[in-house]
């Protein structure tokens, strides 16, 4: 069921034309050590941005730093010179409050100049605590209101099928986010429409804003829930870059018949003992200068 469309709503290379030479292909080579360092580099960048703004989501961002590193430096087919390229793989941040982790990455890849980062937190900055697709190149959809983006991803995956394109749509969701009923509407629709080009990555860090999800509103057994809703499910250590690489490399072809759910078991605040010990206290906060020094030392120490 291929339908001609008038291309992306934003400017992009023509659908018909070959991929431009600036394209970063799927499965780019990257060593485990590099990816691990990259995750820590994301953490350091996040610390700086939050300091600049005065408040931010440390532990939420730290739990998915490895996921960002592997997606952006290994897995996704993207073209920083052409952010609206119709054939790009999409990444949606269901948990939009971790955009601080993406800003350094998108700058590094060349989606926008690095000095944009210095505007973070200021009026008029295109980079904010939550991502805005109208302002920030490389952002495939805006978010911040939890629970929408798996539905949006269903739309993009359906759009890919309708337009006969082979891109993948990845949606990173929080585990607390799965408490939103709209996620299950989307989950139902994804399997009903056999969207094998849709990948949900659940950042299963066990905590929502107010504490452990098990205490607030139990969401387990997650694998069973997604399986019963017609998804192909795998469960991995989401802070392990090798497991992530292996899982994403082994994704079934986008023409497949079942949407794929990767339950990434993570630690909220991963990589910093201060956060790991109290992930809830660091869901939203600001490091004091002393705490910052300590945290940066811990991270830099293992990057050397």
């Amino acid at each position: 069921m291929t339908v001609e469309t008038q291309g992306d709503t934003r400017e992009g290379t023509s659908a018909a034309g070959p991929a431009s030479p600036t394209v970063l292909d799927r499965g780019r080579p990257a060593s485990s050590a590099d990816l691990r360092r990259r995750a820590d580099w994301i953490r350091l960048g996040t610390i700086d941005l939050i300091e600049q703004a005065g408040l931010g989501h440390y532990s939420s961002t730290f739990s998915c730093a490895e996921i960002f590193a592997v997606l952006y430096y290994h897995t996704l087919r993207i073209d920083p010179a052409n952010p609206a390229w119709p054939d790009r793989d999409r990444l949606l941040l269901g948990k939009g409050h971790v955009a601080t982790g993406l800003w350094p990455v998108l700058a590094d890849l060349g989606f926008y100049p690095k000095d944009w980062l210095r505007q973070f937190g200021k009026l008029g900055s295109p980079l904010n605590d939550h991502p805005n697709m109208r302002l920030a190149p490389g952002i495939d959809f805006s978010s911040g209101s939890l629970g929408h983006n798996l539905s949006v991803g269903v739309g993009m995956a359906l759009g890919g099928r309708l337009a006969g394109r082979d891109y993948r749509t990845f949606v990173l969701t929080g585990d607390g986010e799965l408490q939103e009923g709209q996620v299950w509407e989307a989950a139902m629709a994804a399997s009903h429409y056999r969207l094998g080009n849709l990948v949900a990555i659940v950042d299963a860090n066990g905590f929502s804003g107010g504490g452990p999800t098990s205490a607030a509103m139990n969401i387990e057994p997650l694998a069973d829930r997604f399986a019963a809703f017609g998804w192909r499910v795998s469960e991995i250590n989401g802070n392990d870059v090798d497991a992530l690489v292996e899982t994403f490399d082994a994704l079934p072809d986008p023409s497949g018949e079942a949407p794929v759910c990767v339950i990434a078991r993570t630690r909220k605040g991963h990589g910093v003992s201060l956060f790991e010990q109290a992930p809830q206290a660091w869901h939203l906060g600001l490091l004091s200068p002393e705490q910052k020094a300590e945290v940066v030392a811990e991270i830099s120490g293992r990057m050397a």
């Binding site: 291309g7 959809f141 805006s142 209101s145 949006v152 993009m156 359906l158 709209q182 139902m188 629709a189």
Partner: protein, 334 residues
Amino acid sequence: MTQPAEQGQASRTDGPKMVDVFSDVDIDTALATNPAGVAIAAMADEDPAILTLTADLGNVLNEFRERHPDRYIELGIAETNSISVAAGLATCGFKPYVYSMSPFGMLKCAEQIRTDWAYNHLPVRLVGRLTGLAMGLFGTSHHAVEDISVARAITGMTVVAPADAQSAVSLLRATATMAGPVYVRIAEDASPVYDEPPVYEFGRWQRLRDGADIALIGHGMGVGLAVRAAEQLAGSGIEAQVWDAAYLKPHDADAVLAAAATGRIVTIEDHNVIGGLTSIVAETLGRAGVAARLGSVAVPDEDIEVGVPADLYEYYGINVAGVVARAAELTGRL
């Protein structure tokens, strides 16, 4: 209202009845009864980017489904999902029309429409059928009298309310290429006003009749009521101006001021008297510091009765007689 047991009326088998607005037998291909369904099917013949989505309301899209089966997307009874899915499709260059029942579409999905459509300036359209009291007997949960208020609160929404089938065709075509989201409010009980699709200017109301004694302003089904009431009023020597308030956001402030020059305005709508056209007109006058006597033919802000639409519209005076009465009151004549 008194309890029926006390009223002691006989069972009325011959009174007005519900009409099956969902029927997939006759309704789907008739412009008069299903203007948006027919118009969108025709537009889709020319524009391959047009899709339709529904949450179990596909019966009114049979024509579209037959001609473009791949471009009809059924989402089941999951309204909020249908909104966000449409947003995702729009980012891929499609132009989704989401069909919904007005009692649910805007009100149940307001946050998704704001966050996923309006904030992102996406070209998606919500087409609401079954406005006002059209669902009549289902009304315990099915009256749709809040949707304009909600839609107008959302920055970036365009809100249009066709007066009849021809007007629906015009407004659907006029808004088809807009960059942002549009809410198209299809009134079920509209009587014919236009012989052919009228030409609307963006944000402008149409003056359908001149008159210096009073202005009647309606949207949707209210336009036909205004036209017919004006004819009756003319018979009694009252010259009524008539306006088709097709654009509810942005609205036509100049038209309101022109209407106010008569000194008297009656607004006519199948919406709560708060937050719809009545509020728009009053507010525009208030902001402009212009005084006029206002009357409204609208759904009162109180618990709404349940019954077949014909009974309800009569009960609330949302009919030609109601408009005439209100105009008579304001002009002090008749």
